[in-house]
């Protein structure tokens, strides 16, 4: 087996310094896109403000710039901000060395490819970015305000919460983050700093301060205020998360558009007799905010495999412009233990997921049955529940017979996981046929990426740095509380304390990890998501925006173990069955 990377594309806003004309061109574009985005956000917020207070008609859709009722003065201001980019880009990117293709601008991402079908000039680049900035701002406002928030008829508490504590504060945060990204990238482009992932950088701490301000502002809302609105959550704690997540998505996605991959320079011939063939990446305005994640996957060719008589495990990862494809034969790297009556059989998996995941305006249920992602050894992930047998969609970890790496086989010999252990999915696991016997990695180390969900967001192990400098590591906890446990059984040491319809297992109760006797039936009916303040708690999808500003999931010790839902937009890789949505029917 070979871990193949067919197209290795450098990180967006790549590390080495570039020419000053290119650096200045990119910096100009970034500044004007930021200004335009902030203007669009502000004018939409002003429109919403007036609509909520009853100053303009309730029928006005303030998130539609083309709506007849959208204030004309706002339309003018947005057009002015856009023209500052479109009219001056020619001047600021005038150097013959600064061609659009040379800076990675070759195609315009959807849906703006309909407006700008081809890019040959910087005017095309500007028109594309104007469209994309408006589109991202639309998605952000959609999250902050929802659809047709109810008119308050005056300056009510709910209006105050929506306008100044969510809408404007979120805009301020997004502006601060975009400013930091731009400053960082300009420094890197000019060689003033080394290689930095500027999409998530916070060189001066301004992003963290802005995040704190956003959190503080929203904290002045009440759950009652939010319940009267149509924002992304009805509780303060969850609103803090979803508002920031949406702003992060806005900034990060636009960063990818503004700083697409630049083509790798063709090496000049020197005394070297053999040269590595130059790979030709496909530059694009399609967001590729991260590198091809092939390096996160294991080279399984050195692994012992499932045992005598089984094929060797195979895994390769390829990246196209916007898609990651994982090819795998589904054979574990370690000894297969038949904990179900299904034999292990080789598969022909071609899992795909977005290379540049983006937070969606709303979450998507994971399927009740079938794959939801792929581990870094090429094996599929399932949700937390089994099928109707042996227990009715019961909790796979609490009830079922998983092997010691938390996987087992289903019909057709398909090996899959219901939970993940880091020690089975790291390089050291490839040196042994029984990685479950290895000690767990120390809890003082941040966990690596151990899987990818089908919406493209990575899944890390349970431990993470608390800040960008990693001064401390903490365990992340599920926000799903067990709600139907048998009374008097919290802290149980074994199921001896349980009646025969319950089983003792690890759970979260009131935000604390403990044990309790839980029903063997439908896992989704036995837990409810409860948003909690605190960086250790994950959102309902079992993810969060980490200290570096990127959204991702974590494997947790309790339900839902991997994903509670998709935060981004998943590809369809075979999951099926009625979506849980908190129930099994």
């Amino acid at each position: 087996m070979a871990l193949a990377v067919l197209l290795a594309v450098p990180v967006s806003g790549s590390a080495q310094s570039i020419g000053s004309s290119d650096a200045n061109c990119r910096n100009f574009i970034a500044k004007k896109v930021r200004t335009l985005t902030a203007t669009v956000l502000l004018e939409k917020i002003r429109c919403e403000d007036k609509r909520l207070r009853g100053v303009i008609a309730a029928a006005v859709d303030c998130n539609d710039l083309g709506n007849a009722g959208f204030p004309a003065s706002s339309t003018t201001k947005i057009a002015t901000a856009a023209s500052r980019l479109t009219s001056k880009i020619g001047t600021n990117c005038a150097s013959p060395a600064s061609s659009p293709a040379g800076n990675g601008y070759t195609t315009c991402a959807s849906p703006c490819d309909a407006t700008v079908p081809a890019i040959s000039t910087y005017t095309d680049v500007a028109n594309c970015l104007v469209c994309l900035a408006k589109e991202q701002a639309r998605a952000d406002v959609q999250t902050a305000y929802g659809n047709s928030p109810p008119v308050q008829g005056g300056k009510t508490d709910a209006w105050r919460c929506q306008d100044s504590r969510v809408g404007r504060a979120q805009r301020t945060y997004a502006k601060a983050k975009m400013k930091q990204q731009q400053t960082c990238q300009y420094k890197e482009d000019r060689g003033k700093i080394g290689s930095v992932a500027c999409a998530s950088a916070d060189l001066t701490g301004a992003v963290a301060r802005a995040a704190q301000t956003l959190s503080t502002k929203i904290n002045k809302c009440t759950d009652t205020d939010l319940a009267a609105l149509t924002s992304c959550s009805t509780t303060v704690a969850a609103e803090q998360t979803c508002a920031k997540t949406a702003a992060d998505a806005l900034a990060d996605t636009l960063f990818g558009y503004v700083y697409p991959d630049r083509p790798t320079p063709t090496p000049t011939a020197t005394a070297t007799l053999t040269r590595t063939p130059t790979q030709t990446p496909t530059p694009s305005l399609t967001p590729t905010t991260g590198p091809c994640p092939s390096s996160s996957f294991l080279n399984v060719s050195s692994a012992p495999g499932a045992g005598a008589g089984y094929p060797a495990p195979t895994l390769s990862v390829t990246c196209s412009g916007s898609t990651v494809t994982v090819h795998s034969n589904g054979i574990p790297t370690y000894t297969f233990v038949a904990t179900t009556p299904n034999g292990l059989a080789a598969q022909n998996y071609n899992f795909t997921f977005p290379r540049a995941p983006a937070v969606a305006a709303s979450t998507t249920n994971i399927p009740l049955l079938g794959s939801i992602g792929v581990a870094v050894n090429g094996l599929p992930l399932f949700g937390p529940n089994e099928a109707t047998t042996p227990d009715y969609y019961g909790d796979a970890v609490a009830n079922a017979l998983l092997d010691q790496c938390m996987g087992h086989t289903g019909p057709g010999g398909t090996y899959h996981y219901h939970a993940l252990l880091v020690k089975c999915l790291i390089a050291s696991a490839l040196g042994t046929s029984t990685p479950w016997n290895d000690p767990d990695p120390p809890s003082t180390e941040a966990s690596p990426i151990i899987a990818y969900a089908f919406d493209g967001f990575p899944i890390y192990g349970p431990y993470e740095c608390t800040d960008g400098s990693c001064t401390q590591v903490q365990e992340l906890f599920s926000g799903w509380d067990q709600t139907t446990y048998q009374a008097g059984t919290t802290g149980c040491a074994s199921s001896s304390l349980c009646d025969t319809t319950h089983v003792c297992t690890d759970v979260m109760i009131n935000g604390a990890q403990t044990t309790a006797c839980v029903p063997k039936t439908c896992a989704w009916s036995n837990s409810d998501y409860v948003a909690r303040a605190g960086t250790q708690y994950l959102d309902q999808c079992n993810g969060h925006v980490g200290p570096n500003g990127d959204y991702h999931y974590h494997a947790t010790a309790t339900f839902p173990y991997l994903l509670g839902c998709y935060r981004g937009t998943p590809t369809n890789n075979g999951g099926n069955g009625t979506p849980p949505g908190g129930t099994c029917s």
Binding site: A338, G343, P390, W436, S495, S496, D499, T500
Partner: protein, 279 residues
């Protein structure tokens, strides 16, 4: 349980002769309607090189690494046993019965929840807690099956639930699949060292063919069957390096050795257990 010290190979030969005689004897004409038959599952132990202590309360064995091990208390949980339906694409091999079956692999049609949601009618879940210091053969359960061909047997050691059969009074075995208390003496040493093996891990295997016969084939439309899963006490600590392994590793290796040395024997039984499927 077989007589202590009787070699398992000898046992297998005896049974195999019996089975073949039955299989090769005169057969009645095929009935007009295929009928359901009963499958009986049985658990058994073989002492092999293990020997009981004089008081009968414990037993000893020297494992393959040279450790002299004494087991003073132990329990293992037989979680489930089931014949597994032949895969649809597989060409049946007309073998009536067979003897000892080594563990092997191939893709099966099986029932484990997930998309099928259909329990295997051939599965039994005895959830039987068995004593390792008083090992004895026992009937594990019976299933009456519609006409169907089966090509594998799955045996699983897993954790006991609250309602498991045979829960001992002296130890909480709920949520535990294997517990052993004992002592060992390392090779060349004279010091007796106590050990405890305790795990909730599940460990199982699919058995599908014998070295001298190509495949299991149990047609429950033609015969009933008696399935015996036989474990070997003498091999249960093979590969366990008591002085070097951490307790969870010892437990994992003990489960592996237990399963790796399982013999499965299937005897076809004829008309006396037949029940008419189509009345």
């Amino acid at each position: 349980m077989e007589e202590r010290g009787l070699a398992p190979a000898g046992v297998a030969v005896c049974v195999l002769v019996t089975v073949l005689a039955g299989a090769c004897g005169p057969r009645p004409a095929a009935p007009a309607l295929r009928t359901a038959h009963r499958v009986e599952y049985r658990l058994d132990w073989v002492w092999e090189r293990a020997t009981a202590t004089s008081d009968g309360a414990a037993w000893e064995v020297v494992n393959d690494l040279g450790y002299r091990v004494r087991v003073t208390r132990g329990y293992v949980v037989s979680y489930s046993m089931e014949l597994v339906e032949c895969p649809k694409e597989r060409t049946p091999i007309s073998v009536g019965s067979l003897g000892r079956l080594p563990r092997s692999i191939f893709e099966s049609t099986a029932f484990a929840g997930h998309a099928s949601g259909t329990p295997n009618p051939a599965a039994i879940h005895p959830m039987q807690v068995e004593s390792l210091t008083a090992p004895r053969a026992r009937d594990a359960g019976t299933a009456t099956l519609a006409p169907q061909t089966y090509c594998q047997l799955h045996y699983l050691v897993g954790r006991a639930s609250r309602d498991a059969a045979g829960l001992p009074p002296d130890l909480d075995m709920v949520d535990t699949s294997l517990h052993i208390d004992g002592t060992y003496v390392a090779p060349g040493a004279s010091t007796t060292v106590p050990f405890v093996i305790h795990t909730a891990a599940a460990y199982g295997a699919l058995f599908d063919h014998a070295a001298h016969m190509p495949a299991i084939r149990v047609d429950t439309g033609s015969n009933g069957a008696r399935v015996v899963v036989r474990r070997h006490l003498g091999s249960i600590f093979d590969g366990v390096d008591f002085a070097q392994m951490r307790p969870p590793v010892m437990a994992s290796q003990t489960l592996k050795a237990l399963i790796d040395h399982v013999d499965v024997q299937i005897d076809l039984v004829s008309e006396d257990h037949r029940e008419t499927l189509h009345q």
